[in-house]
């Protein structure tokens, strides 16, 4: 069985359920191991940066969370497209399940970024283009989730949120560049950027990789578990409707 047929067979809810029933526990355990390993390694066994002191340890939370915040939206976008084109319900529900995980990751990235900014910039919040873009991304997530929650009919909700996700993606990218323009245009290079990836030494890099793997696995496990719940919730919704009709 090639990859593509096995991927599309997941569109069958029964098959998705039986496959993820095995996958979720494995992913969860792997995520736990990587996360605990990466964070313990990073927190206890790495030296302080000569410039940033111990705040460099925040990197093990901030960078993976930011990574998953963006990839979470990307996953929602792909899942929405699959729903709009191929009408697989599992796909729409996966997009729905990804939103709460993505919003939490965005929140973590924002909080850890602000906490890191306090000693480095002397303020919790600077309107740095990157921080601002994440704040906007956070708002997009909120709107997306609110629209899902507001509509009763599952198919209508899936369609409308998919359209919102597509339009929102365009505007999110547009906002990213607009924000860049807005701040750079005013204060030429006034703020430090969070661009630390470039000068990260190996000592910091390996635990960071492990922690990233942990966040990715955790994201996958949570999204799959959430999708399972959404599939069940949908079946429950259908059963209740039938009961009321009878």
């Amino acid at each position: 069985m090639s990859f593509s047929t096995s991927f599309w067979s997941l569109a069958n809810p029964a098959r998705f359920m039986s496959l993820t029933a095995r996958a979720v526990p494995i992913l969860s355990v792997l995520a736990g191991v990587c996360l605990v390993g990466g964070l313990v390694w990073g927190f206890f066994f790495t030296p302080d940066d000569y410039r940033q002191g111990s705040t460099v340890k925040i990197i093990y939370l901030h960078v993976p969370a930011a990574l998953m915040a963006i990839n979470g939206w990307l996953m929602m976008l792909v899942a929405s497209l699959i729903w709009l084109v191929r009408r697989h319900h599992v796909s729409a529900l996966a997009a729905r399940a990804a939103a709460p995980v993505g919003v939490t990751m965005t929140l973590i990235a924002l909080i850890t970024g602000a906490v890191w900014g306090q000693p480095m910039w002397g303020t919790f919040w600077a309107w740095d283009p990157r921080l601002t873009s994440f704040l906007i991304l956070f708002l997009f997530y909120l709107g997306y989730m609110a629209l899902w929650a507001a509509i009763d009919d599952p198919d209508t909700a899936a369609d409308l949120t998919s359209v919102l996700c597509l339009v929102g993606s365009v505007f999110a990218i547009l906002s990213r560049y607009a924000v860049n323009f807005w701040n750079q245009g005013l204060h030429q290079g006034a703020s430090l950027s969070l661009d630390r990836e470039k000068n990260v030494a190996d000592v910091f890099y390996h635990p960071l990789l492990l922690s990233m793997a942990g966040f990715i696995l955790l994201f996958l496990a949570l999204v799959l578990a959430g999708t399972r719940t959404e599939i069940r919730a949908r079946r429950l919704h259908a059963l209740r409707l039938r009961e009321r009709m009878a």
């Binding site: 111990s54 705040t55 340890k57 969370a65 939490t104 850890t112 906490v115």
Partner: protein, 49 residues
């Protein structure tokens, strides 16, 4: 416990906040999953019998 120097508060806060958020998220996912599963089983039970 490593010596965190003068940024101990910030680093500690960042880790604590992240762990709380992640644990809340995991907790909510598991809790909602269980609740929906139980409700579904009840509904299926009513239907079949």
């Amino acid at each position: 416990m490593p010596d965190l120097g003068r940024y101990a508060l910030e680093v500690g806060f960042a880790y604590a906040a992240t762990l709380i958020l992640l644990l809340t998220l995991v907790g909510i996912t598991i809790w909602r999953g269980r609740r929906v599963k139980r409700a579904l089983q009840a509904a299926e039970g009513r239907r079949h019998g």
